[in-house]
């Protein structure tokens, strides 16, 4: 057999990676409150039940709002930082860029507790969706910068100069030439930030106000065994939704690459 042990290793790896995910829809359609084999029978009642939980809808909307705002802010900050770091030199550039990227590796619990102290003790602000947005933007921006930097890095600097040479202003050159060319990076970083924010738990748990985010709500429901099948159903819905979003993103990314005649160097998504 070609590949031998490496092939077996690869298959085992994939099984461990995806088996738990496959269990999710399996139990979501299982007619029983206990998560155990053998399966009892097919039902869609958990999905029906899901549609009736008001608190869940609130949490979902809350999460979507936070993810949308976080992704937008992170991408805007990311564009600024990525452009600055690839195009200009300034004093203390390396330490500044390092400081921006640090939240990527900081333990989230530390970030969450410190943010809570700052928000409540130092600024005496009420906890709300906006405090969660602030925390999520802090941890999402480094991801956006990392993705966008490689987009900006790949750009020929003379493209911008050529546009200016042909009569454009600096802003016009950026808007008409640079932005369209980095748009695949913008879409990719937006989706990554959106996903990170959507399923982030620790920061949201500490900084959320009266209205919990979806992960915080799910966590609160896990204490009640009867609610677990509904959570499974919710997970299945989210799984399908993510697959659709990622497919769409990948489609646009490939189209972007084909449009500028680049060779596909493997997708980020």
């Amino acid at each position: 057999m070609k590949g031998g042990w490496l092939r077996i290793y690869a298959i085992a790896y994939l099984v461990f990676l995806y088996l738990p995910v496959v269990l999710l829809p399996l139990f979501a359609f299982n007619d029983g409150t206990v998560m155990a084999f053998p399966l009892k029978g097919f039902t869609t009642q958990w999905f029906v039940q899901l549609a009736g939980i008001e608190a869940l809808h609130g949490a979902l909307l809350n999460s979507l709002f936070i993810a949308l705002v976080t992704a937008s802010l992170s991408v805007i900050f990311g564009i600024c930082a990525a452009r600055a770091s690839t195009r200009y030199t300034f004093p203390l550039k390396a330490p500044i860029m390092g400081a921006i990227m640090v939240p990527l590796v900081l333990p989230e619990i530390i970030v969450a507790v410190s943010l809570l102290v700052v928000v409540v003790q130092v600024f005496d602000l009420p906890l709300s969706a906006w405090t969660v947005v602030a925390g999520h933007t802090l941890i999402c921006t480094p991801f956006a910068i990392a993705i966008l930097s490689s987009s900006f890095q790949g750009l020929d600097q003379s493209l911008e100069e050529a546009a200016i040479d042909l009569g454009e202003t600096r802003w016009g050159a950026f808007k008409n030439i640079i932005l369209p060319l980095v748009s695949p990076g913008i879409v990719a970083s937006f989706l990554i930030c959106f996903t990170i924010s959507l399923d982030e738990f620790i920061i949201a748990f500490f900084l959320t106000g009266a209205e919990p985010t979806l992960p915080v709500y799910i966590w609160s429901q896990l204490r009640f065994p009867t609610k677990i099948p509904a959570v499974m159903a919710l997970g299945t819905v989210m799984l399908v939704a993510s697959l659709i979003i990622l497919s769409v993103a990948e489609y646009y990314r490939r189209r972007g690459i084909a449009r500028v005649g680049g060779t596909d160097s493997g997708g980020f998504l």
Partner: protein, 362 residues
Amino acid sequence: MSIISLQNIEKHYGDYHALKDVSCEIAEGEFFSLLGPSGCGKTTLLRVIAGFEDVSSGTVLLGGQNMAGVPANKRPTNMVFQSYAIFPHLSVAQNVGFGLRKAKLQPAQMADAINEALEMVGLAGFGERAAHALSGGQRQRVALARALILKPKVLLLDEPLSALDKKMREQMQTELRRLQRQVGITFILVTHDQEEALIMSDRIAVMFEGEIAQVAPPQDLYRRPLTRRVGEFIGVMNFLNARQIDVSDGTVAFDIEGLGEAKVGPDQLPEGARAYLPVVGLRPEAFTIVYEDPKLRSQRIVEGEVLDLSYYGDMTYYEVKLDGASAPVTISMKNLTTRPVLERGTRTLVSWDEGSLVVFAA
């Protein structure tokens, strides 16, 4: 009147002195080249003219107007970039028409202008192609059309041919030259390729380490390089140690190693020089391997031994150690069927042309 006047341009990047007191006049309709090795400041000077770099001090006049504080997008110059900088997400027509969008033309006028520009560079009918699907030579033409469509006073070309293969480069050299005559716009070409500069230019400025060493038409530059370095950079030049033995009536007599005594007349001496380097230059073609009876030749003849040779088909380059000389000289000979190619180690007679001696100011 000169279209560009550079006056005492200085450019510093931190501690690095990129341009040192550069002054130069470029005439309207001229094909002017900035020639020099990499890092000599030629591209910086081009970017100063384009408005992409500020000067530390000095003045750039363009069509008589001081360009201080005028940004690149307001200058009557357009540039062809080394990488061509074709916008990859736009079509050929959109690329070529990019600079015209500000002009608020009717769509039909715009299309006419674009077609005209594409025709001029030999790309008629390419308008709808995607820019990224073009070959190197075609991208170059699109870059040219995109710059020329705006009818700039000066077209700046930053090593435009360096990315092309040899055949394509030679073709584009002639074509660029033809295009320049056709449109009558001043072209300023940056290149490190001395052959390219000689072929294309009306005048050439040779630059070393941020300074202009010499500005001259190609023939003068080749025949009468002002400094040893210019002579070395343009084509091949043999340098022979020479001792100055006499000066009378503006004529200087040298005792040249391996060649003997020679007199250099006033028109051959560098202008205004008081003293001369103890070295003279001679191009490979100023030597001739003597095949026939030396008594028939009026020129001066010396003897030497062939150390090595390079055969190019049309030409043969010999390395010949002349008797009494410390280093071999390079001699070029056209290959004719009546002239056998000499082998290594052959003793031969060599004649040389006294009128081709190049003397450098000390």
